[in-house]
Amino acid sequence: MQHIGDTHRGWAHVGALVATCALVCLAACRPDESRSTGSTNVQRGAAPTTAGGEVDLGADDGQWVMPAKNYAATRFSGLTEINEQTVARLRPIATFSTGTLRGHEAAPIVANNTMYIVTPYPNFVYALDLTKPGLPVKWSYNPKPLLASQGVACCDVVNRGAVYDAGKIFFNTLDGRTIALDAATGKPAWDTKVAEINIGETITMAPLVVKGRVLVGNSGGEMGVRGWVKGLDENSGKVVWTAYATGPDKDVLIGPSFKAYYTKDQGKDLGVSSWPPGAWKIGGGTMWGWIAYDSTLDLIYYGTANPGPWNPDVRPGDNKWTSTQFARRPEDGTAVWAYQLTPHDEHDYDGVNEQIIADLPIGGQTRKVLIRPDRNGYVYVIDRQTGQLLSANPYVFINSTTGVDLKTGQLAVNPDKSPQVGKVIREICPAAPGGKDWQPSAYSPKTGLLYIPHQNLCMDEEGVSANYIAGTPYVGMNVKMYAGPGGNRGEFEAWNPVTGKQVWAVKEDLPVWSGALVTAGDVAFYGTMDGWFKAVDARSGKLLWQFKTGSGIIGQPVTYKGPDGHQYVAVLSGVGGWSGAIVAGMLDPRDSSAAAGFVNAMRDLPQKSTMGGMLYVFGL
């Protein structure tokens, strides 16, 4: 184990003492005694148990143990101390510099009065002590990823966060390792190499721990990578199963228990036959986004990324199972159902966005659904038991497709907007990052609304020849993006998944590339790429409070109950990611194809935001 600073070692030696003190005397340690309500810190034993017999830490509103808050991925907290009335009094109570300057997409994780942060490359991990003023560092860890991994990460060297489970912190490194650290000491329990940078694989996603499995997927859809999700044994780090997104059924873990709802997704070895010979081996379908879990049905849900190369002419066919919603068993990865959202994707519409688990009244019944605001521009509501489509309505302006047939499940492509080799097709909406990209929505069971942070971009595309050379980009598309209709490049939108309609929307000048958070206090939080951290009324969208952080915000806000019993909100500020690559990578806007065409839409960002890497914690 390597600590970043030796001074942190001391904490390990007196760990027990600190823990004891934390429990007994931390209230007295707080500078503001009047706010020390004497409430004890939240113990994991207090959390409810799931149907699978698991302790569902995600149900504990005092903590925030995984980026999506809970297995249902709602990013909803039951805490109410910060609400429409009080939120105006929110003020920063602590800040912490992460020591890195690239895009900070991670969610701070809170477990047992400790906050865990994983930074962009080089993926430092910090444990901050929430029981002491100023949140001092308890321990830190430097995984020392390979320098060269920076060159194969398509869209900035981001990391979407760590996860806490059973006394350990799990996270991924850019150079393709999954690491488990002892949450109390920062000592590594295991360190497993799962991806290979020499074939273009990196890892940027946050793992999810379900029933003793650490679920991890690869990035590299722009590098001719073959996508997979792996289930690692939580205790040993050994790879128990690997489910590829392309190739024969046995590689995709499609067996006798698999049942696709729609005819279009039924058949043998579609992961081979829906491609030109052999193309599935370098066909993409990576998984760098979000996984949800329903403990009652015992199913994990995730979607796969775009097919490669972007140039669709060289891969006639549906290109299964790219841009596909999967349901699998967590223990062995067996596929239970699949629904291809965007067959033969033409515009880099990955399917890795979040899917939120909810039970909604639809057609007079309560349906167990997934709510998926997809990159292709539609909010899908899908029966999570069968994969049946219940609705698919556009939440952004779309002209690349004309709708989804609920009977056949088929997405209707607008051929006028299909890219062609040697010809520039203009005004394709949404652009390559889609209606929304990785930035996760929040769902409030209280308001029944989905809070979608997203962009509003269109693009020009020209297909060019794509040459596969392992470890280099395999794209074959010239792209140039710009603002969509209305001119605002971003929006924070409240959406009713039952009616399939927008309820309100806040227009933002820049793409909203941060995650969303919503609470029972009926306040929704998000950040802007020019650094404003905002709280809006969850029912009306009215701005209630805002604070200007040092850099642009593309991270995931979280909320938790501090050891003093009070509610806090935390977010990382540090612009970057694909949208912020112009700043984080110091790119040259004279080339409108820079950062796969995103730079063209972000020419003014360097005047509005500078690089940064800072944690902000707010309280009343």
Partner: protein, 187 residues
Amino acid sequence: MGPSLERNIARTLLITVAIAAVACEREQRNLGQSQSAAPSAFVADVDLQPGPTFISDTSEGPFDDNAYNTAEGQALFEEMNCSGCHAHGGGAMGPALMDDQWIYGSLPNQIFASIAQGRPNGMPAWKYRLNNKQIWELVAYVRSLSGLTPKGARPAREDHMMVIPAPNQTPNAKPKNSSLPSASMFP
């Protein structure tokens, strides 16, 4: 007299052998590759040199003023997927190549080294995939992006969707962060 004559003969022999050696080497090469050896000297990537000596590298790239080879470099830049990582000079996963900032230097020899040997933070080493001539062609094209080669030799247009100004219209972006003199600073 004697020793001096001997010395002269020896010198002549040496020169002859040297010329013959070079000629042999030439014979081993394919036509048109006479100018495509790797840089003959070690390349400095940094401006800082201990001691008072300041050795400047003034050698030019063999194809800097050759429009045909620069165009070949442009084609290679697409075919080898350089454009995937550097876009059309504005940068993506790799840094911008059309600006006035260089991490490892803007001189032909330095850029040759960047491409052939690779660079630590994610630039692949191409020497096992490309021959010296191809690398020099890429050097000429990379330098043309920021106007460091003669205007007449730079590509007049992009072959595809116009995403960058034509390199032959790009003003010379005098490298900012290097005190090493550039080999060819054409206006």
